[in-house]
Each structure stands twice: as C-alpha cells, then as structure tokens.
C-alpha cells in the first residue's frame, strides 16, 4: 500500500523528468553560470579572475551610462510596440472578419516574412531608403527632390526596422483574440442602438485587449533585446542595451561585466513578464502559436 502511494507520488516526477532535465541543462545551469560569471573580474590580459567581487554590479547599477542606454532601449522598444499595436490592429481585424477561404491565404501571407532571414529583411531597408535606394530614385525621377534625402542610419530607421520585424507577432496575437470573439455580441450591441464605431469601441476593442496586451509584451521584450537592427540601420550613437552586452563580451572580452549587464536586462524584462502574467496570464501568448 505504502509502495503504491510512493509510486503514485513519483509518477509525475518521472513523467516530467525529460522536460525538467532539458530545462535544467539548457536554461537553469547556463543561467547559473552567467550569475557566477557576473561576480568574477576581468584581468588586464582578458583572462577571468575567479572569486566573489561586486565590482561589476556596482558599475552596472551605479553608472549613469548604463541607465541612459537602458532608458533609450526601453524608449525604442516602447515606440516600436505602440506603432505595431496601431498598425497591426487593422490587418488583424481585417483577417479576423474575412470569409474562411481568404482567411487561410491571408494567414499564410502573414507568415511569409518568417521564411526570410531577419537580417536580410532588416538589410532590405538599405535598398529602399538609401541615397541610391528605391525611394530616392523614385522621388528624383519624378522631380519631387533635386538631390537624395538622407533617410538611413538614425533612430527612426531603427524603429522602422523593428516594426518590420515585429509586426507579424502583433498581428497574430490580436487576430487570435479577435477571432475568438462571438460575432453575435457585436450584432447584439448594434441591435440595441450602438453605431458600428460604438460597437467596436464598447465590445470588440475591450474583448480584444488580451491579444493586444500579449502582442505588446512580445513586441516590447523582443525589441528591447535586439542588437542587429541598430547595427545595420542605426547611426554611430544608436545603440541598444544588447549592443553593450555584445561589446562587453566580444569586443572587450569582459565576460563578467557582460554577464552582469545581461542579467540586468533579463531581470527588468522578467519583471514585465511577471506583471503581465499576474494580470493577464501567459495563455494568451500561447494561443497565437497554436
């Protein structure tokens, strides 16, 4: 009897063990390495000095430079998220309210950008916005401008590149939310005297908020962690926090400092996810990938 109970208690752990081992090996242990690294020091030769030093943490938390870049990173991520939300909602609404046949095709079109490398998609803007790019060539040929306009390599193009990259994530999340709304609710609102706009504002929009929030969270977290876009489309000053992590680890070979920086970014984005989960739950994000 006791053996049966013990066996029953063990069963979930046995069943969970492959997942737990995977998470442990691929996530927990590497994360612990990063935590340990953050307390080491980089020596003059680039080798690491093993020990328990708070220097990296004091530098990262006390230096205004890192705070400023972090603020700039979050500002760029915020602009990107807001733009994605505004321009992503419309196509999501359109897809959700399209007849079944077209819907499958439109969803396929939505997935199409994922088939092309993110770096290639980012670099495509150079051919569009460059001084010899498509837009300048068009404007020059129809006489709107006399000489090419400098459109590339600034914060605006960084945000543009991020919007291009993240928009499908927003659309998918909002679409899933809109698709789950019972159409009878809108019709009921209209039958009770609402105009089309009022029905959207009072019924559809509030019910689609979980999808909008899930899309926003995804866009914000992915945007805040990017480093390719500022390298390709940014100017000399347009760095994001991930670029500092890259520089600390790769250029300066300062893995301890890079570890502390990456943990700060991870912690702040983790707080966001926790807040989101507390109020909305992560189920909504999972739905869009089903």
């Amino acid at each position: 009897m006791a053996a049966d109970i013990a066996g029953e208690r063990r069963a979930p752990w046995v069943l969970l063990s492959p997942s737990l081992a995977t998470v442990g090996l691929l996530l927990i242990i590497p994360m612990l390495f990063i935590v340990v690294y953050s307390f080491w020091l980089r020596t003059a030769t680039g080798a690491d000095q093993v020990g328990f030093y708070l220097d990296n943490w004091i530098e990262v938390l006390g230096d205004r430079f890192y705070r400023d870049i972090l603020f700039q990173t979050f500002a760029i991520a915020f602009y990107t998220t807001v733009i994605c939300a505004f321009i992503g909602y419309i196509p999501a609404y359109f897809v959700a309210n399209t007849p079944m046949k077209s819907k499958a095709f439109l969803l396929l079109m939505l997935m199409l950008p994922f088939w092309i490398s993110y770096i290639i998609r980012t670099m495509s803007w150079i051919n569009i916005l460059g001084t010899s790019g498509a837009l300048n060539t068009l404007f020059l040929s129809i006489g709107i401008i006399d000489e090419p306009i400098q459109m590339l390599y600034n914060q605006t193009t960084v945000v543009l590149g991020l919007v291009h990259y993240l928009l499908p994530f927003m659309i998918l999340n909002v679409y899933v939310s809109l698709d789950g709304i019972d159409k009878n609710l809108t019709e009921a609102a209209q039958s009770l005297g609402c105009t089309g706009w009022q029905a959207f504002r009072e019924v559809t929009l509030p019910l689609s908020m979980p999808g909008l929030a899930a899309g926003s969270l995804l866009c914000f977290v992915l945007a805040a962690g990017t480093y390719i876009t500022p390298i390709v489309l940014g100017g000399p000053r347009d760095a994001m926090f991930a670029n500092l992590v890259f520089e600390a680890i790769v250029t300066q070979l300062n893995w301890p400092l890079g570890s502390a920086l990456s943990l700060v970014l991870l912690a702040l984005l983790g707080v966001l996810v926790v807040i989101y989960t507390r109020y909305l739950g992560v189920d909504q994000i999972a739905k869009s990938f089903k």
């Binding site: 030769t45 680039g46 010899s132 100017g235």
Partner: protein
C-alpha cells in the same frame, strides 16, 4: 599519463577488440557531454581528442573573397597533396573569434588568419600561443624579416604564427566629391571636416578610431600624450559621421552607393572597389596605419599537420595566388621572391621589403591600454 595517451589507449583498446564499438563511442560521447557541460578534466580529454586527429585541421578566416582564395589556392591542393582535410570556418572579427576560442576547448580551433601584432600579443596574454618548429617550415626564410621580428619579441624568440600578408588602413574617398589634392593636403583631418558632415564614415573599432583620433590631434598614435584630445577628435568625428561600418562588405557598400564620401578603409577592399569601376581614391596619410595578418596556430593543435600547412601556404605560388585573390600584398620578401606583375600594383605594397614607411600598433603600448580605452570608446561612441 596525459589525456592524449588516455584517448589513444581507449582507441587502441577498441582497435584490439577489447571494447565494443558501442562502448567506445559511448565513452567518447559521455566524455563529450561532460566536457561540454562541465569543462575541466573531461574538457582536457576532449581537447586532446581534437588535437590528436591528424586527418584534419581547422582553419578560421574572414570569409568572403579571402576565404575563397584560401580554399581555392591553398587548402584544396594541400588536401590533395597530403590527404589532410582543412575544415574551414569564418569569423566576423578578431574579437568575435577570440570570444569563441575562449569559450571552446584548447585544440578545438587550430589555425586562424588573425590581424596584426596586437592580436598576437593578446592571444599570448591569454596563454593561447603554441611553439612552431621552424625547421618544419623552410619557406619561412622567404618572409619579410621586419614582419617576423615583432612576433618573436612577444613570444620570447619563438613563433606561434607566420606573417602572411600586410596592408594599410588609409583614407578612402569618392573622387567625384573629393580631389586627390584635397585628400593629400588634409590627410587624416579630412574625416573631421565639417564640409562633409553626414557623408563621413568610419570603422567602429576602438583601436582604429583612437589611432586616427591621435593623428587628427597631431599626436603619435603609439605614444599618446593627451588622450582627452583624442577623445575630443573621436567625438567630432562621431558627430559628423553618418555610420560606423563593421565589415569590409559594409565599407564597400557605403562607398559604392555614395552613402558616404570619405572614410578610412582597408587597402585591399578599396582596391576591390576600384577594380569594380568605382572612382574611389585611396591615400595613406603621414603616420598612416599599417598592419600585418598572420596565420596563427593555437595551443593544443596538431603541430606537425599545422606546420606542414603553413609551409604549404608560404609556397610562393600559393601565397601569391592568395594575395592576388584578396588584394593584399603577401608577406614574402620581394628581395628573395619574384612576386609577378600584379602584386607590385596592389595598394600598400612595399618594393623595398622593409615596410619602414608604415606605422604599426605597438602591441605592448596598446595592450596596456586596451581595457580602459575600449570601454571608454564604447561610451564616447554613444554620445559621452
């Protein structure tokens, strides 16, 4: 008994039939997993397992036309002649590669096409240097002595690499907008000329930015007296620049598309642009930056196989073919080797074989300041 012996004994036991194939592979696999997760002693076993494989060596380079030249002119004939495979990899920069090597096990990476004396010293500081048996590399006698000596100084008279090519980082400019006379007259200060605001580029690498900042503030880059003046120059350049480029391909694209009119650039890449028909001028200013590239052998590598490959790569016909492919002069001494017709036309080529007109990074000086300056540059770049 060292780990190589343990690995060989394991292999011998398998060959003798003492252990099954399954047991042998399981033992190796387990060692690999443990080494991957824990490093440490099992990592040393894995390291020597790599190093004890004489059938192949790993070579890492810059990719693009340079790697293509190596593949075509050096590796394929070498494999055909010796039966040793060259597993070729690429990296985007020396910093990226050193991070990879640091993360790997000794012996995982064997040879690399590295920049300059600075990196050689950096690798030595990280205890990654090996010791070449120069008797196995007879073609080393054809290499320009002034390229070898700085390497010897760092590693106490021995070598862990052979110099392979050299070039300069000079000023590249679009002749449609900037004349040769203006480029020569202004020199390094052309890149802080407000007249070209928004049309200036620069390599976003701290050493080059500081070198040019020193020239722009009339200082000796290998003996900077006023580093604040250098940072001010870097700030001026930053505020006038449209873009810091990070690869040769990006440099070429920015100049070819006329996004920028002036930048510093690598001599070989500018030659490639000129060969494509772009009217790009190139000027090495006074105190301009010369550099050499070497083929570096990392500690823990199969030395005999690596030395054989190095000797093969230094064969004049191979070195010249690679040099023509990548547009950088070979490290071969023109006083000892007939370099053909194309090499003397390459930018930065020194017919005297002394390279006395070029300035190089003083490795001791730059390594001493590396931690501080690279970190400060990161801040200055971002507006500080």
């Amino acid at each position: 008994m060292d780990d190589t012996k343990r690995y060989e004994r394991l292999l011998n036991r398998y060959r003798d039939g003492d252990i099954s194939r399954r047991t042998f592979l399981t033992a190796l696999g387990a060692a690999g997993v443990v080494a991957g997760v824990t490093g440490g002693p099992m990592g040393l076993l894995a390291r020597n397992a790599h190093a004890a494989t004489p059938e192949q060596v790993r070579f890492d380079g810059w990719g693009g036309v340079v790697s293509e030249a190596f593949e075509k002119y050096a590796f394929a004939p070498y494999t055909e002649k010796t039966g040793i495979d060259v597993v070729s990899g690429t990296f985007g920069g020396a910093d990226e590669y050193i991070a990879r090597v640091k993360a790997g096990q000794p012996g995982e990476f064997n040879l690399a096409h590295l920049s300059g004396v600075f990196d050689y010293a950096r690798y030595h500081g990280l205890e990654l240097t090996s010791e070449l048996n120069e008797d196995n590399i007879p073609n080393l006698k054809n290499v320009i002595p002034s390229l070898i000596e700085p390497l010897r100084k760092i590693t106490g008279g021995t070598l862990s690499a052979v110099p392979y090519d050299y070039g300069t980082t000079g000023i590249a400019y679009n002749r449609k907008y900037i004349s040769d006379e203006e480029a020569k007259a202004k020199g390094a200060k052309l890149m802080v000329d407000e007249a070209y605001k928004g049309k200036i580029g620069g390599w976003g690498e701290w050493k080059t930015r500081i070198w040019y900042g020193a020239l722009q503030s009339d200082q000796d880059p290998n003996n900077i007296k006023d580093i604040d003046a250098v940072w001010d120059m870097i700030r001026s350049h930053r505020d006038l620049a449209l873009k810091y480029w990070s690869s040769g391909a990006e440099l070429m694209s920015l100049l070819a598309e006329e996004e920028i009119y002036v930048t510093e650039g690598w001599s070989g890449r500018i030659k490639a642009l000129q060969d494509q028909g772009h009217d790009i001028g190139y000027h090495d200013p006074a105190g301009g930056l010369g550099w050499q590239e070497c083929i570096f052998v990392l500690r823990g590598s199969p030395m005999a196989a690596c030395e054989e490959l190095l000797n093969f790569m230094l064969e004049p016909e191979v070195a010249i073919a690679v040099a023509e492919g990548q547009s950088y002069p070979p490290a071969l001494d023109p006083n000892k080797v007939e370099l053909g017709k194309i090499i003397p036309t390459l930018p930065a080529f020194d017919p005297s074989g002394t390279l006395s007109s070029l300035s190089f990074f003083d490795p001791a000086y730059w390594n001493e300041n590396e931690a501080d300056w690279s970190k400060t540059f990161s801040r200055v770049q971002r507006g500080y």
